[in-house]
Symmetry: C2
Subunit: 258 residues, 2 copies
């Protein structure tokens, strides 16, 4: 079993180290992750500047490859240039913070898994909801390992993609697993407008810290209620429900007469 | 009619200027776009540094607001901080280059429209396939205007999102309009490995220039064949087909006994 492990928090982040430690007996693990943190970069890719790959060592031990780009870049480079043989599964995480609802779209962690799925590899994004009440990444990585092991055992099909979120509580207080759908509503973000010492305005994006929406069956409510959330995702964004409606519109005379 | 106009090529790009010129009689247009080019940034958002808004003038005329962030940041800032009244429609473009297939996921142009849809506003991403054979952005903007006008007339519902691509040919040679689905396969990208003067390796991401896949009914094949492609998109990534299958897996004993 060949596993490609990546993330968006960067190759020095505690989440990827904890997860690597927990899954190292599952197979041969290659770590290819951003050299610096890439949270919130979404599915960005780098084509207007070249990418560098650097071997990363910690305490004289080889950790993996640090890439000067996004999580999606890491997956592309790992599969095309770094790994001698293709991975059997791509795992992205353990992210420090939940990736639920529309945050899935902003998440580099999820984007890495999406990129792997596009390239035809089964992939799993794994995130850990960190709160002020609980943030033991090692405990969360143990839970993540159990989930990953089960997913691998069930042979995730080619190009399939699961988004896993682990709630912020000790493993023995997690209520169970829920298979969920993405919570697809606005999170009501705002900006905090401030003035710099020179008198000019600047704006901080303000997320809502702990979300209070409750829509049964969603990733958001599952994590809020203390369950592990597993959401199968796809990367075909076509809105088939809207398709027929648009087809029925009057599209004549858009093009100038020939 | 209030229109928010944005893009990912940046506020000084020719595509946004050409499109603004063509649609200026449709309503009151507010331009809020990245201060510098943001192609390929996907749905990235900026929360680890603050954002700046700068009034942009060209030839002493007020053009709009340049934002030190991504296209998604522009939409958030425009709606929360810049526009006095909410927009009736958000338009992202005219992008210099097609956004079809999985490139939709990498596109800042599409991400801006997705962001608007999430916030509850109807939105349209418009891109122009530029080739060595044809790249007249003013001609393309005229076609884009006709499509946009028709979409507005049909009252795109709240939160709906259309991805429009205009083929690289003179308007009078465009074959017509096709309502399409996203082409959802890998584009077989590769890397060009080079060596810098210091002897170290670097990697350029290589896209395929003109795609040769033909899968009838997709955005990619429509544009390749000379049609305007209109694809309704959604931002709920849940794979409902996979959902039932995953639910049937054995999920017992993942959590340590209490």
């Amino acid at each position: 079993m060949r596993i490609l492990l990546t993330n968006d928090d960067g190759i020095y982040a505690p989440g990827i180290a904890a997860l690597k430690h927990q899954i190292q007996d599952l197979g041969q693990i290659t770590v290819v992750a951003p050299a610096i943190e890439q949270s919130g970069v979404g599915h960005s890719i780098t084509f207007s500047q070249p990418l560098r790959i650097r071997e990363v060592h910690l305490n004289k031990e080889f950790v993996g490859y640090g890439v000067s780009g996004s999580p999606a870049d890491c997956v592309k480079l790992a599969i095309h240039e770094i790994m001698e043989n293709k991975p059997d599964v791509v795992i992205s995480g353990l992210n420090m913070g939940a990736n639920v609802g529309i945050h899935i779209l902003y998440s580099g962690t999820v984007a890495a898994a999406v990129e792997a799925a596009i390239m035809g590899f089964p992939s799993i994004a794994v995130s850990f909801e960190i709160t002020e009440h609980y943030a033991d990444v090692h405990d969360a990585a143990k839970v993540a390992r159990n989930v990953i092991e089960r997913i691998i055992k069930h042979k995730l099909p080619r190009g399939s993609l699961l988004n896993v979120n682990i709630p912020s509580r000790p493993a023995n207080q997690i209520k169970g697993i829920k298979i969920t759908r993405q919570f697809a509503h606005d999170f009501k973000e705002t900006f905090d407008k401030r003035t710099d010492p020179g008198g000019k305005a600047y704006y901080w994006l303000m997320g809502t810290d702990k979300l209070i929406h409750h829509e049964e069956g969603t990733d958001l409510s599952a994590v809020n209620e203390g369950y592990i959330s597993i959401t199968p995702l796809r990367y075909d964004l076509t809105d088939h429900a809207m398709y027929k409606k648009i087809e029925g519109w009057d599209w004549k005379h858009i093009i100038p007469e020939k």
